[in-house]
Structures are given as C-alpha cells and as structure tokens.
C-alpha cells in the first residue's frame, strides 16, 4: 500500500480516487470541481486506481493527475496526447485519461488533436478551458475572445479564437461533450460517459480561472448562462445538429453530450490487436531473427 493508493473497499468511492496531495490552485479555481467530477466518474466506473493512467501536459489544469490516486504523469507542455497514445497502445488494458488546458491543448498541443482523433485511439480527453493561461499568470489563450486584453494583448487580441468543439467535430470525433463545474452532477456524468465510450472521447470543460479569468466566465455567471443540450432537445446522434451547436461555442454555453456516434467506429487499438493476432503465427523465435539475413533466405 503506497501513500497514493486508496484503502481497498468493496465499492470504490470518489474519495478513493483523491490523493492527499494539496492542490496549488487558487481558492475558488474551477479545477477543484473538475477533479471532484473525475473522481466521481471513476468511482462510478469502478476500475481500481492502479489500472488507470492519467496523463497531462503543463498548466494549472495539468496538475490534476497528482490529485488523484491513479498512475499519473504530468508531462511537458502540449504533449499529453502523444504520450497517452503510447501508453494506450503499449497496454490496451489500461483506462487512459488525458487532461489539458486550453493553451496546452489547442495552442502548443493543437497539432496532435486531429491525429489522435483520426486514429480513434480509446482515450478520454478532458480540456479545462478557462480562456486564459493560468499557470503563467494571465496571457492570451487560443480560446480568448477577439479584442480581449491580457498581459500579452495589452491593446486587445487581433485573432479569432479557436473553437475546440467545432475543430474536433471537423476532425471526425465520435464523442464530443461540454461541461462545467457549475453543474457538478452533469459534469461527472459526461465524464463517466466519455470513459465508457468505446473510442476517443473529447470533453471540453468551462473551468473558470478566478484569478485571471473574465467575470462572465465565473461559475456564478455560468450558472445563469448554461443550457443543457438535453433541455433544448438536442439529439447526440445528430452530427449535423451537433456541428451547428458547436458553432455557437463562445456565444452560448451548452452542457452535455454534443455528439455521440451511435455506431462507434473501430478503434486503432482494435486494428492493432487483430493485426497482431493474425501475424503472430508468422513470428520466427526472437533469437532466430538474424537468420533472415542469410543470403537466399
């Protein structure tokens, strides 16, 4: 039993997935709610902590694996996805979660997103989107609104923001959701569903930065603004509708499952396993591998 491993109980509780490491987050940071929602989702899933790998990049948000009892890996800025893919392909048995921030995920790490999605590797990718660089103290983020003034856009940003929901829909993601700690039960539920989805799942979380964030992104304002997709009658199987809703990112705050492919496509991992199985019988013993270099072989 290690310091990080929960006490074995029959049915795991969210508390079993919380480590005793004290978060460095500011009081009131939205990420506290995110870690709670994740541990609740993990409790509902019921896999033991040692079968879970939780990978992140760098940022306030990326500190999150350390606050859980899973095997955590707080990697480098923007590269959580490639590392997580290696983990999942090396050991398909693991439940692999990935956490990121808006900068980590869509600025420096933006180039990896399309590829993990088109490969459809079975990961759950959680982005804590606070429209700002928290850890480095308030610079422009790719999801910051045009015109926004920050420490690096003193006269207002000149760029259109990234639209994470629309981008991943365009990349062909099969599971796309959005949540906020302002709706904790809803958030825990979509994370759970994302984990259960057999394939790559993307979850954007509007997790406010109380220190550098805008007023209208705080939990209080979110509680007023948010609309559940369910409540507006959105059908998660409707890809075109999902794309339309995704366009409203930055304008409307929808929560819930935007898109869930009713016929989940084959994952990359399935392809790998089939290939391994079909080729296995052709393997010469490892120690005879050099024989192939005998001329005429």
């Amino acid at each position: 039993m290690t310091a990080l491993e929960p006490i074995a109980v029959d049915k795991p509780q969210a508390g079993n997935f919380k480590s005793d490491l004290k978060p460095i987050w500011c009081a009131g940071c939205g990420d506290y709610g995110v870690v709670t929602a994740i541990t609740r989702a993990l409790a509902a899933i019921g896999r033991p902590a040692h079968e879970i790998a939780f990978i992140s990049g760098i940022g306030c948000s990326s500190r999150i694996p350390g606050y859980t009892t899973a095997y955590g890996f707080n990697t480098v800025h923007g590269r959580a996805l490639p590392i997580a893919q290696g983990i999942k392909l090396a050991n398909p048995e693991l439940l692999v979660l990935v956490a990121s921030g808006d900068g980590d995920g869509f600025s420096i790490g933006g180039g990896h997103v399309a590829h993990v999605i088109r490969r459809n590797i079975d990961l759950t990718y959680i982005v804590m989107d606070n429209q700002i660089y928290g850890l480095t103290k308030g610079q422009l983020s790719p999801t910051s609104q045009r015109g926004r003034k920050t420490a690096t856009s003193n006269f207002g940003s000149l760029e259109e923001p990234v639209n994470p929901l629309l981008y991943v829909m365009g990349y062909g993601a099969s599971f796309v959701a959005q949540g906020t700690p302002a709706d904790m039960p809803g958030l825990a539920r979509i994370i759970e569903e994302g984990i259960r989805f057999p394939g790559f799942a993307f979850i954007n979380i509007q997790s406010p930065c109380v220190t550098y964030g805008e007023e209208d992104q705080q939990l209080k304002a979110q509680k007023v603004r948010m609309r559940s997709l369910e409540s507006i009658g959105h059908d998660p199987a409707d890809r075109a509708g999902a794309t339309e809703r995704a366009r409203e990112y930055g304008t409307r705050l929808y929560t819930g499952i935007l898109y869930r492919n009713p016929n989940p496509p084959r994952t990359y991992g399935q392809g790998v396993i089939e290939r391994q199985q079909s080729l296995q019988k052709l393997a010469a013993p490892r120690h005879e591998i050099l024989n192939r270099f005998l001329p005429g072989h």
């Binding site: 310091a3 095997y71 955590g72 490639p82 591998i289």
Partner: protein, 598 residues
C-alpha cells in the same frame, strides 16, 4: 590470386547498377567472402545517375573506401558524375559498354591511363541474349563472375529466383545474358592473379544486411515491442522493417505526426512498462530534445537511434557525417546525462542496439545510438552471431517490500530506484518533468533538487568501467594512439593494419560508449601515448573536444577531422601515421611527432 577487390559500377538510373552490386555481394556472402557495398545516387528523386561500390575480400574488411580495382561504366557521362567517389587509377581494370563509342585508349578519365581496358558490347549482348536492354546489368555480373571468379555457381540460381515471378521466358533470357558475360570473359582472359582467392574464414555463408535492417532486427531480439517515429532519410528503413515484423511479436509501430509525437509515444510506452524505440536523423533529433529531458528526469528507459547525415539543418540528407555527437550529449536543457553508443559497422549494430536497450533498462534512462548514413545503408557481410551470448536486462521492478511504502524515486545507494508501471497494484505514483521528491511529488526545495540531480548522475558511475564497450587494437605500449568511432573507425582499423604491417608502433581505441566519457579507459589508453589522432568525420572533431572536457590528453594528440561527405581513406591515415609513429624497432630517441607539432 587477389585477396581484396573493389569494384565500382555506374550507369543511368534504369540500368540496374545497384541490383548488379547486390547480386555480386549476395553471391560473395553465400560463398563465405567478406564484403561491403555502398551505393550513391544523383540528386534526382528517381531516374538520375546511380552507382555502387562493392568490396569483396578473403578476410574481414572494415571500410568500403579506396581506389577501384575494377571500374564498370555503362556510360561515361554518368560514371564521371560520381567523380572522386569512383577513383580510377592506372592499375584499375576498366570495363565499359562499347556502345558509348569511346576508344579504349581515349577514355574520358582526367590524367589517368588504365593499363587494362575492356570495351564490351554490353547493350548489344543484353539485346541479343535476353531480348532487352534491361538485362545489361546481368551481362555485367556475368562478366565479373567470369573474370574474378565470384558467384559462378550461385548466381544462376539467384537469377532464377529473382525473375521467377516474371515468367520462364524472362528467367531464361537473363540466364543466357549471364552466360554471355561468362563467355565473353572466358574469350578475353584476364591473368589469374585477379581471381579472388578462397575466403580465409571458410566457405560458410555470412549474413548480409545493412545497418538499418540490423538495427530493427536487433531491437526485436532485445524485446522491443513498441516503435514510434516519423520518416526521415536515412533512418526510415528502421521503421519500415519494424512495420513488417514487429506485429508478429505482439508489438506496435505508430507512424507519428512528427518527431515530437514519435518520441512522446515512446515515452508513454516506456511509462506503461514496455521496451520502446524511436529512430530519426538530425532534424528529427532536434525536435526530440524536450522529450529526452523529460525521459531523463522521469527516469524512463527508451532507445533513440540517430542515423546521422550531413548537417547543420537539412544539410546533406544522403551523405554521412559524424557531427551530431555534441547534440546527442548536450541538447536537452538543465543538467542531465544520457548514455550514447555508436556502432562501427553493420555487424556491430546488433550489439550496440542490444547494449542500448540493456543500458536503458538498467539505468532507467534514454540511450542514444549514433549510427550514420553509411552504416545505415551499406550492405555488409556479417559473421553469424551467437545470440545466446547476449544477456537481456530488464528494469528493476519494486519488490513487495518496496511496494509496502513505495517511493518511485527512492534515493538508493546505486541511484537506481525500483520502477513500477500502470497495472501494478500498489505501484501507483506521479511521474513528472517537474523536480520531485522520492515519492514523485513536485518540490521547490533546492536541497531536494540537489539530491535528485546527484542521484541522476551517480547512477551512471558503473559506466566508467564498462571496458567491454571499447575496442582496443594494436601494440599496447605504442607511443602513437588513434581514436576513432562510428563508420570512420573502420578506416582507422584498416589504417592500423597497414601501419603495423609497415612496422609502426601504433594502437587504436574505438569507443562504442561515447558518453559519459569513461575516464579510466582513456587514461589507460593514453598512458603510453605521446602523440596521436582523433579521426572523425566532423568539422569540429567532436569526440576530441568531448573527451578533452574530462581527460587531460597528451599535448600532441590532435583531431584529424573534416566535414562529412569527404570520406577518409586508410592510406591517408597511414601517411599521417608515418609522420607520427616510430618504427616498431626504431631506437625511438627523438620522437618525430615533436617535430610535427612545432
């Protein structure tokens, strides 16, 4: 009879020059000869000029360079394009296609008049016997088999196998073309002295492969089950081989979107407990810098092969250079150390890769293997390898006792802390690129940082005494020392052989472990040395400088270094040695190097 034969062939892209060379060296390998074959192309992607050099010998050979004994020109324009890569001397036997219209005494070779010249109607023979010009290269191997006695028996079978898919007519046509070559040679006999003697090491077949394929095969042998990388010349064949093979062993190849993602996936696979490999060349190495640092601080094993090409930047993608050593040692920011290994031949690649995986696992570290364009792409005969002599190392796993209070980064005496992986009950920990304490938790304590740095360096101390990772040849007490590494070490070995044959007192050190610098090994080697050379294919003489950082070299030891794509010749090293080394039985009173140095 001849003991050593260097044959150069050049022609247009479609002439099958390289395939002729491959037939030759394959036949030689089957018959137990030693050989090396290199190829070279113009800058066109396809369809430009092509050439190959095949060196065949009765004893082991270590480098493909040197003037040609035999030159084959399918046309003179293309042959001349290769310039100094195919050096013709007056002793070279020249064979060329008569349809070039050139008279044997008017060869377009600047200032050289070869003594033996054969104008052969190669195109005509191909047309006549196989009904197609495509068989020109088969005529050429017939000629060479006839004149030099290589593959007279095995080639026909090879031809049959190669063309089998194209139907009986093609097979027969090519067989006739080969026979025509043989017949022509028989009709125009060459003095017996040119025939290659029987191989000294017996008629037993050798392995035949190139450095990239050997690298991939060795990785599979070492237990590697994960590869991720991004294509780049001249390393791509490693990924290509593994993509054909690794699945059979329950492994996976992931072509990543770039080199960062490639090594990222490898870091992940290693975290998950697997032996994992990535391979690239210079530009890709530059992109992997950040991940190498992460693997160092997170103490995760992995192997990263850099097949060096000419640099800096995109540089010269198809040329060999040894100028990425500094980078391999020092690219990542912060204080960190990762071992660097370098094979000196295709055969040596096997051990280098196995060692690399072993060091990675033992020391929980990234290991860099520096190959180069020459080793990676030259075909070489290799004495069959007894794989049972190789021990495979696995990373140190936590015992139950360790897991009772698991501290992933425990400050142990050896500096090596037992490592768990996801799936192992009780081994849960937080890995990170952030400085951490023994439990893996982030720390801002300077004292802890100092202790962790110290641990991460101390664990490599055993490498100071890994003498098995060094080759020492020659006279142990010689006052003249050569040091060389990678493919260039082959030139140094041949130069040593020549020098000792002349009675010069010389010795050679070839480090296969380039970094950390094993100080005792160099100190011992240089104990008897008064002067010497570091022979390197880099402008800066990077190994020379690297060793100086840690070892006080004798004042008269200096770099003999130059930019890549300017291959060294054993004879030019010999010439330098003649100036430096006293004869084996000289009185040695006045050391010639003392003159050289002023």
């Amino acid at each position: 009879m001849s003991q050593d034969l260097i044959i150069g062939i050049a022609g247009a892209g479609g002439d099958g020059v390289v395939s002729a060379g491959e037939s030759l060296i394959t036949a030689a390998a089957l018959e137990g000869y030693h050989g090396i074959m290199t190829k070279s192309f113009g800058s066109q992607i396809r369809g430009g000029e092509a050439s190959c050099r095949v060196r065949l010998a009765t004893e082991p050979v270590f480098n493909p360079n040197g003037p040609l004994d035999v030159a084959v020109a399918l046309n003179w324009e293309d042959f001349r394009r290769f310039g100094s890569e195919l050096p013709v001397e007056s002793a070279t036997i020249v064979i060329y296609d008569s349809n070039t219209g050139v008279a044997p005494d008017k060869l377009p070779l600047d200032g050289v008049t070869p003594r033996v010249v054969f104008s052969v109607p190669i195109t005509e023979m191909a047309q006549q016997h196989a009904g197609t010009e495509m068989a020109k290269n088969v005529v050429v191997i017939g000629l060479l088999a006839g004149w030099f006695g290589i593959g007279r028996e095995s080639m026909p079978a090879g031809i049959r196998k190669k063309f089998a898919k194209k139907g009986a007519a093609v097979v027969e046509g090519n067989a006739r073309a080969f026979q025509a070559g043989l017949d022509f040679a028989a009709a125009h006999p060459l003095s017996q002295e040119h025939q290659l003697a029987a191989p000294h090491t017996g008629r037993k077949a050798k392995l035949l492969t190139d450095g990239n394929d050997m690298c991939a095969a060795a990785a599979i042998f070492a237990g590697c089950t994960f590869f991720s990388g991004y294509p780049i010349t001249p390393s791509t064949e490693i990924m290509q081989f593994l993509d054909r093979e690794i699945w059979k062993y329950g492994g996976t190849v992931l072509q990543a979107e770039d080199e960062i993602a490639g090594i990222g996936a490898v870091v992940g696979a290693s975290f998950a407990g697997k032996k994992a490999l990535t391979a690239t060349s210079g530009p890709g190495m530059s992109l992997k810098t950040e991940m190498l640092g992460l693997a160092s601080i997170a103490e995760l094993p992995l192997v990263c092969v850099n097949v060096q090409r000419g640099g800096p930047s995109t540089g010269m993608p198809t040329k060999a250079e040894q100028a990425d050593l500094f980078q391999a040692a020092f690219s990542a920011h912060g204080d960190c150390l990762r071992p660097i290994l370098a094979p000196m031949s295709v055969g040596d690649m096997f051990g280098a890769i196995v060692d690399a995986f072993n060091l990675a696992e033992e020391f929980q570290t990234p290991v860099i293997v520096l190959s180069d364009q020459e080793i990676s792409q030259r075909k070489e005969t290799v004495e069959p390898i007894d794989t049972s002599a190789f021990r495979l190392v696995e990373r140190k796993r936590p015992t139950e006792g360790d897991l009772a209070q698991y501290a992933r980064f425990k400050l142990t005496e050896s500096g090596i802390s037992p490592i768990s992986h996801p799936g192992m009950i009780g081994g849960n920990y937080l890995a990170s690129g952030i400085e951490h304490n023994e439990l893996g938790r982030p720390t801002a304590s300077g004292a802890m940082h100092a202790r962790m740095n110290e641990k991460r360096f101390r664990k490599f101390n055993p490498l100071q005494n890994r003498r098995d990772l060094f080759l020492v040849e020659g006279d142990p007490d010689a006052p003249v020392g050569l040091v060389s590494w990678g493919s260039v070490a082959g030139v140094a070995r041949e130069a040593l052989r020549l020098a000792r044959a002349e009675g010069l007192q010389v010795k050679l050190l070839v480090p296969k472990l380039l970094y950390p610098v094993a100080e005792p090994v160099y100190r011992d080697f240089f104990a008897s040395v008064r002067c010497g050379l570091f022979i390197e294919q880099s402008y800066q003489g990077q190994l020379y400088r690297l060793v100086r950082m840690f070892v006080d070299l004798p004042a008269l030891v200096e770099p003999f270094a130059r930019s890549g794509s300017n291959p060294f010749q054993p004879v030019e090293v010999l010439e330098r040695l003649r100036k430096l080394a006293p004869p084996l039985h000289g009185n040695g009173d006045r050391h010639p190097a003392e003159k050289v140095a002023d």
